[in-house]
Symmetry: C2
Subunit: 252 residues, 2 copies
Amino acid sequence: MTTASDKQDFHARLLQIGKERYHDKHPFHVMLHGGGCTITQVRAWVINRYYYQSRIPMKDAAFLSRCDDPQLRRAWRSRIEDHDGGLGEGGGIRRWLRLAEAVGLDPGYVASTKGVLPATRFAVDAYVSFVREKPLLEAVASSLTELFAPKIHSERIAGLLEHYAFADDAALAYFRQRLAEAPRDVEFGLGYVLDHADTREKQDAAAAALTFKTDVLWAQLDALYSAYVAPARIPPGAWNGRDGVIREPAAE
Amino acid sequence: MTTASDKQDFHARLLQIGKERYHDKHPFHVMLHGGGCTITQVRAWVINRYYYQSRIPMKDAAFLSRCDDPQLRRAWRSRIEDHDGGLGEGGGIRRWLRLAEAVGLDPGYVASTKGVLPATRFAVDAYVSFVREKPLLEAVASSLTELFAPKIHSERIAGLLEHYAFADDAALAYFRQRLAEAPRDVEFGLGYVLDHADTREKQDAAAAALTFKTDVLWAQLDALYSAYVAPARIPPGAWNGRDGVIREPAAE
């Protein structure tokens, strides 16, 4: 059993993981937010990050499928709704495809996930498997990178608006919407983890789950950097910088 | 149904995948075999590749666990024996740890898999999941990178012996042994795939499985290159070039 002070220490430990390992420190994000990315690099990010977005509802469905507490399912279900939207409209995935269009990509090409880097697939699929296989506490803890997301989304909106001509409210709707959704999700997830990690062993497991998730995010940017930042080494079969491009975006 | 000439074309198609995508073309292997790697880069390769070796028997056990044909299980089982060896001796995993010792690493550290790059884990775990989840034909087809392995093992033995003082018969026993084992395994696997991929759809699925496996191998070298070749970007928590080093190897 843990005391209130244990709980505080554990909360601080989780925040420290983000400080040390969250992907806002990755050089690709520094380039992206500072206007240092070419349009090809921005497109590569949009194509690959789409794969992550597309797997989030599957990850959350895997979570629901293992969850025998109706109240926990009810609280968690909105995540799927937020990402998938309704039959005809809304949802993070469609908003992401608006960003794809804004950077001159065919949204059908992006949605096909052709050209996604194998390393992106491996990292994202590892996250889905983790949530499918691990104890619920660890599955919830792995979602807590959302603790650190509002800061990166705010920086991204400001940075993209400042540096790239394609960036406008429609293009960036995904990030603005996440600024509204993520705090609600993470408040619930954080409360759950702080309450249920009531032994040192469970705290260690939850911290390891959050660390794992920071690895999933970091590895995606490493793969992008390796493939598309000079000296670029695009793996066989991955996006070549031309497929799916339908028009050049407005001049900078 | 396929004709003999279909089968020949399909065989050629599989070989072509190796020509275009096998990891012997990766710049990290070119460096390694040509003597261009520092001892730290060789050690990083040994540490990360160990993770791959360590998961091969688990992958093959996943295959056996789904295989209701006793004769197929009997033919496949030797792969586990080859890698794991007996209770007290033998096996590819122990031979790999001899290589670890030869390059000055603590074999216990390497066997702990601490310091393995997250991207290595994601790629290798994707391979194990693939074999656990896909139809048997695709699981067998994903093993056919062994078609291309004898060449890389021969080049590696010659290149390591020529360029690195640590390389001797004991250090390189893993590769010599694989030269004896892999041709037997791949003859069986190739025969199985050529016989069972008896529609165009199954041929496509088998070719995709082999392509997937080349991605798994390529992604591991990409991750090594990105982390340990200048400008090195070691991800948070991965091997720092010092942990597990017990001595410097003999001078070059």
